[in-house]
């Protein structure tokens, strides 16, 4: 789980072009949207693609994203329970 969280932080920085942020600066429970990393709706769609592409998880209910994408912690938990690759 710890390794997955580190991996996720790196992928989030890479796919969302968060140039000024380092993996070490993202805490497991930091909010990804709003006051946290300040991600927007396009970023949310990009995270849905990331789940599909890298972990084989197809998110069919967009509303579910709100709880899944709360933080790296919640993302990692969801991926651990639902990944197909």
């Amino acid at each position: 789980m710890e390794a997955l969280k580190q991996e996720l932080k790196g992928k989030i920085i890479e796919v969302l072009n968060l140039e000024d942020i380092a993996v070490e600066e993202i805490n497991d429970n930091d909010a990804l949207f709003g006051d946290g990393l300040g991600l927007d709706s396009i970023d949310a769609l990009e995270l849905i693609v990331l789940l599909d592409k890298d972990y084989g998880i197809k998110l069919t209910d967009p509303k579910a994203g709100k709880s899944i994408f709360q933080s790296v912690e919640t993302m990692a938990s969801y991926i651990t329970e639902n990944r197909t690759k």
């Binding site: 140039e19 970023d43 769609l45 599909d52």
Partner: protein, 196 residues
């Protein structure tokens, strides 16, 4: 009625250098555009993290416009500045990149963040959001820079009071070949409108 307007400032970005009002302000040789753009952004002390998420055409337009608009846009005021841009390749550079993400049916992952830049006028939107401009804007696609058309268009906007100032010019990017020539046209200034 003869209209006499002026260019009050201009910025040219090409060959990994930034010229402001005819003076070279920044240069970084032998690096790809993405690296040059990032270095220029830092050199001019810009502070807008969304810059890094933009495609290369928008980054180019943003850099040139930011340098000119920095001293022209007043926070909290109605900055009635029209944006009139043109180029040759439209958003083709990003279109090709996006096509790459949907070409393989077995590995089909269209990127939303790439898709949003598959229109050339998105760069105008980025600049408008950045400076809270709710003004006239247009993005034309021409084979070459059409100085007469752009001059007439800018003069028309100023003459009819559709805009107080017009930021206009050429913003072209396709596969590492790029050139931005943006200039501010207004009713007062110190240079005559450049015809060529």
């Amino acid at each position: 009625m003869q209209t006499k307007n002026y260019i009050s400032g201009h910025c040219v970005i090409e060959n990994n250098s930034v010229m402001v009002n005819g003076v070279k302000q920044f240069e970084l040789e032998h690096v790809p555009f993405s690296e040059f753009a990032k270095a220029a952004y830092k050199n001019f002390n810009m502070d807008y993290p969304k810059f890094f998420k933009m495609d290369n055409l928008s980054k180019l337009a943003f850099l040139a416009s930011e340098i000119i608009l920095g001293s022209k846009v007043k926070e909290g005021e109605d900055n009635n500045i029209a944006l009139v841009f043109a180029n040759k390749s439209s958003s083709l550079d990003t279109d090709v990149k996006y096509q790459g993400s949907i070409a393989d049916k077995e590995n089909y992952f269209p990127s939303p963040a790439v898709f949003v830049y598959t229109l050339p006028n998105i760069c105008i939107g980025e600049i408008s959001i950045r400076h809270k401009l709710q003004s006239e804007n247009a993005f034309f696609v021409f084979e070459d820079f059409n100085a007469e058309f752009m001059t007439n268009y800018a003069n028309g906007l100023l003459a009819t009071n559709k805009a107080d100032k017009v930021l206009c010019g050429w913003v072209e990017y396709y596969q590492e070949n790029y050139k931005a020539i943006l200039y501010m046209v207004e009713k007062q200034g110190d240079l005559n409108i450049i015809k060529k």
